[in-house]
Symmetry: C2
Subunit: 276 residues, 2 copies
């Protein structure tokens, strides 16, 4: 029986999603331990995106196969049981459902939505220090949103790709990239959300795009400067990497036709090393 | 020279606003220490509301008098300097301005807005554990909002008053009490905001009202039950006290005519022991 689970986590204390050596805390290992404590089965779970150290999730999606013998359990009960075992960790299963065996959390995904949160004001952040990126200098969000459109579509994203990225190709299609601005406090502070949607991303791609957009927002870069950076296809031409604390994997999208996605994916092996 | 400051803080690690003994962490003492480290003056600051242990603020307001000698400093510089001294604490001065000497953060306040945050879903909260109250059972927000209107206006709020409340009278006017509901995640979770606005509140009044409203939301109490509880004028007739983690002092309102407020206030000595 294959289960699809939606996971919310605070990434701060974890070395990312992916299980590593025994003494390194990862989100994957914590959930696999919870599954083991629940049913004494050593199971590997597969996530849509391997988030980096310190990156958060509002809607990470994963799947795993569980042979639960004669007993039956529904999604609500499974989530409740796993959350009981996860109670001392900032990880919660917010939804669980039985899916067809053709479903694969990563291969079946048609799109992923990441959101990056910036708090823009002179004073630092007291309430959400590990949940945002604080930028002191005023950002022009109209200029950021205008420049962001340069990055949408099919490009060689080498400028925004971490030097350790394992993807075979730096070419990706960025479906959408847009800026949302709203008041954060009643004294002029602004919360800026950078939303990025694509089938898959290169390692650090969102954080590197946000870092460059912050230069546009500060007025240090023009829209043309961003174009020149993209065209350079060189990480050295890009802006800084925005900190992990502001990044959230918000949602993973799936079609109902999982089989089709899987067939498509066989022609896209460069996705298999995808680490966002 | 009198300064008005707006303060954001994470209340989790503090025993409330008000300075106590030397070895107890309070927000007031932390800010007074920052002022001392900035200008070597031992100054007492006066806040609009003395928030309890664990309660947060998005817009606490305080005033203090600072003799800064011949040198001049503006509000932006003062906030920046104090924030530098507060950098290891979850407290930030988000605004500072020079005010007339007739201004008093508590006496001049015409209204205070508190907001209580509830996350309502089966799964617990991973990202904001110390920033909300998690309620597992589904709440009917329409029923809560409808019942809340019973509590607005002038009442004896003894039912919602902590037994240790020092206010001389349990009679207060609650200007507004309303519920706002919005999606918290993409899988049915809801964020419920309870907003309460009044010139002043009794000790634990907002948390006690929220606790009773949660019973209405769960269907354990009808609107009539809430009315009966209010009429009992007895804390034992009220619902539970909602945890401190969900409560925020959001904003303190002032008229421009501070003198008038101060004169009014002299007829309201029962306000002087007000602890929200």
């Amino acid at each position: 029986m294959r289960w699809k689970i939606i996971i919310e986590y605070l990434g701060t204390q974890y070395c990312g999603w992916q299980r590593q050596k025994e003494d390194i805390d990862t989100v994957q290992e914590s959930i696999e331990k919870a599954i083991f404590n629940f049913c004494q089965q050593e199971i590997t779970i597969h996530a849509a995106g391997r988030t980096d150290a310190g990156v958060h999730a509002k809607g990470q999606t994963a799947h795993f196969d569980l042979d639960y013998g004669e007993r039956s359990i529904n999604g609500f009960e499974l989530a409740k049981a796993l959350n009981a075992h996860l109670r001392y960790e900032p990880i919660r299963i917010i939804h669980a459902e039985e899916v067809d065996e053709s479903f694969h959390a990563r291969h079946s995904a048609t799109d992923k939505l990441y959101t990056y949160r910036i708090i823009n004001r002179a004073a630092g952040v007291a309430l959400e220090k590990e949940l945002v990126w604080h930028i002191r200098r005023p950002l022009n969000t109209d200029a950021m949103n205008d420049a962001a459109q340069i990055l949408t579509g099919f490009h060689d994203f080498s400028t925004f790709r971490d030097t350790q990225c394992q993807a075979q190709s730096p070419e990706k299609t960025l479906d959408k990239l847009w800026i949302e601005a709203k008041p954060y406090d009643n004294w002029g502070g602004t919360e800026i959300l950078v939303h990025a949607q694509a089938r898959s991303f290169l390692h650090h791609q969102v954080r590197n795009m946000v870092g460059s957009l912050s230069l546009v927002g500060e007025g240090k870069w023009s829209k043309l400067d961003l174009q020149v950076a993209l065209d350079a296809k060189d990480r050295a031409a890009g802006g800084p990497t925005a900190p992990a604390s502001g990044l959230y994997l918000v949602q993973v999208y799936y079609d109902t036709l999982h089989k089709d996605e899987e067939d498509n994916n066989n022609n896209n092996n460069n996705e298999s090393k995808d680490i966002d």
